[in-house]
Amino acid sequence: MMIEHDRIDFDIPVLPEDNSAICDTVAKICADHPAEYWRALEKKPAGERFPKDFMAAMTKAGMTGATIPEEHGGADLTIEAVAAIVETVHASGANAAAMIAQYHAVERLLEAGAQNRAAEVLEAVAEGAASLYANAMLKGSAEADSEQGVTLSGTADRVTGACASDWILVDLPESDAFVLAARDKIEATPVRELTNSDAWDLDFDKVRVPAGEVFRSTNSRKTRAANVRLVLDAAAAVGDGRFFSHRGTQYANERIVFGSPIGSYQGIQFPLARAHIEVEAANIALRRAIARIDAGFEGTSESLVAHHLAVEAAWNMADAAFTTYGGFAFAREYDIERKWRDVRAARLSALPEADDLARIGAEALGLVAE
């Protein structure tokens, strides 16, 4: 018996919309923030590593609140459109991590629907007046008070974009509640990492969140938010795959060793070709997942499949390109090692149970977890 999610609905268009105008605008902003910009950020002291200028330009162009519905002042773009934005950013060599975090946070707030101040915050984000770049998992306690506010005590590790964000979306332990905590109320210590993730360890020392910023998840939207996150991360990975496919083949055609371009040797050529095929397959799986989400389906299985294929394909493409560049892959000025590190990080999950394989096994295949 075929598992329901594996059906491909050919009546849902899997051909992407024409988002070329949006992608052109995005590509121009990326061209204004070339490789040197991203390289320089890594060298900055903690607190200055966030791509502030890049995000300001994206916000000004209306890209960062793009999925917010018109009723809250947004452009009401489809997930297909923002996936195209994210893929374009990554294919150019830039990084859309903060944009993805905000798209995900918006989905979480849309979850909360008409609760409390959700609508106001969404409008502020749509206007570009407020940012939601950070999502923290609280380890500790959240005590409710008589005014429906919540006081947070505890810590959260490795929260990316925390210090550049006006609000931090905090998931409360053992609860389907989440809050928006104002950044300036939280102690933050910078975390040095493999990549320029601008990560911070947060300390919540009796941080009070008023009722307006306390929300409860509804199950279906929590799932949608999670799947949107998966497909946007997958879109970023497909973009990374394009970046490395292009760079790897370019160098393989230019570099002459023993009288021939190295791309003519199967030892270099086949790994590039194999990875390229994987990126293509991931892209098709991604288009299918996005089509289902935009058509109003949950799309969990499709999203997991697309995400797993995409992050693995991006890695194989990045590593094949890395090998192709030989020693030069290690030189920062070639911009291979920086994105290669990013792509590796994207394959790691925060929790073992969040791992794609674990979820596909348990949720799509119904295999009983140990």
Binding site: V257, T323, G327, P352
Partner: protein, 390 residues
């Protein structure tokens, strides 16, 4: 023909224990703080001095020149131990073996002049100028020229990936003394020089640090009419390519041992972490299998390294064995690095977990000092007798 016997256990235990004790004074914080510095200030000078003072970098120099006169296997154990202990010998391992070319092909005068001071650390021979921007694998195509002039040679050209050049008093330099179009065989016409870096820097040699993903203090070197005295030539003019080849097998064994050390480091950490996690939640079987798989590969690679070193130390031809040891140790350390990073998950990205630094270092084990594809080409052509594929 049989391989000479080699140990499968903890050989040279006295080195394993004493080196580990020295390394305990240079914990993770020491290496992390160095990485935060700009390239010019990121050299682990204190660590290198400690190794020098303890004589570890002089183990391969014969006793008559002030070294310990030990076989390559001893050097390999020292380097492996350094890496397993969480330290890195990359910034100074060349001091152990670059002198080999001088030892095997230099004149007695040259050996007496330099080897004792290299053994004591008074002179650092940490740099080897071979690779150029346009020649990596295809060494014989190198373009740096050394032309006879005024009782010596004038050098013009460029080297890249010359690690530790800014921390070395001497450099072994490979340059063409006879242009390619004037030699019968392309391996002829290349010469080896022992360059006095202090002098050369005053006379047209420029060292530029390269900002790279791995901290080996690597550089580009520009030679603008740098004059070298006649006695800086090692051995015969034009025969240099053969001279450096025999040193490469020693280097393969030693650098492979570093990879083995890193692989053991990763396994130690992965096993410790998994032991903690397993008691907390699920059995993590996928991770258990990945770590065990990596361990099996590590053990296999370790045996190949031991075999190659034993053959080298018995003066046997060991090009294939040394290169296969290099190839398999590179793949094995990468498997261990990946398994460890996956066990840690996103937490492993943090520099303060002391995983990601060696993980980056391990990517280099798959790539240098020789291209893995070139090793496969070599094995295919010279061991398996398949037609040359390039």
């Amino acid at each position: 023909m049989t391989t000479p016997a080699f140990s499968i256990g903890n050989d040279y235990n006295e080195y394993r224990e004493s080196v580990a004790a020295l390394c305990a004074d240079f914990p993770g914080t020491y290496w992390r703080e160095l990485e935060d510095q700009p390239p010019s200030a990121s050299y682990p000078a204190d660590f290198v001095q400690a190794l020098t003072d303890a004589g570890y970098l002089a183990v391969l120099i014969p006793e008559e020149y002030g070294g310990a006169g030990k076989p390559v296997r001893a050097g390999a154990v020292i380097l492996e131990t350094i890496h397993r202990a969480g330290c890195s010998a990359g910034p100074c391992h060349a001091q152990m073996y670059t002198m080999g070319t001088l030892l095997r092909h230099g004149s007695e005068d040259q050996k007496q002049k330099y080897l004792p001071k290299i053994a004591s650390g008074e002179l650092r021979l940490q740099a080897f100028g071979v690779t150029e921007p346009t020649t990596g694998s295809d060494t014989t195509q190198l373009r740096t020229r050394a032309e006879k002039r005024g009782g010596g040679y004038a050098v013009n050209g460029q080297k890249v990936w010359t690690s530790r050049a800014a921390h070395s008093d001497l450099m072994l330099l490979l340059a063409r003394t006879t242009p390619l179009d004037q030699v019968k065989s392309r391996t002829d016409g290349v010469s080896v020089f022992l360059v006095d870096m202090v002098e050369a820097k005053k006379n047209g040699m420029k060292i530029v640090p390269i900002d790279a993903m791995v901290n080996h203090n690597t550089t580009e070197i520009f030679f603008d009419d740098v004059w070298l005295p006649e006695d800086s030539l090692i051995g015969e003019e034009g025969k240099g390519f053969k001279y450096i080849l025999d040193g490469m097998n020693a280097e393969r064994c030693l650098v492979s041992a570093e990879a083995i050390g890193n692989a053991r480091y990763f396994l130690d950490k992965a096993v410790a972490r998994l032991s903690d996690l397993r008691s907390a939640s699920q059995s993590r079987q996928a991770d258990v299998h990945a770590v065990s798989d990596a361990f099996a590969r590590l053990e296999a690679a370790d045996l190949l390294v031991r075999r190659a070193a034993a053959m080298f130390d018995a003066d046997m031809k060991c090009g294939a064995e040394a290169n296969m040891a290099k190839f398999t140790s590179g793949e094995a350390v990468w498997a261990c690095a990946e398994a460890c990073l996956n066990v840690y998950g996103k937490d492993g990205l943090r520099s303060d977990r002391d995983i990601e630094h060696k993980w980056r270092d391990s990517r280099m084990s798959r790539n240098s000092p020789v291209s893995p594809n070139m090793i496969l080409n070599f094995v295919g052509q010279h061991v398996l007798k398949l037609p040359r594929s390039y």
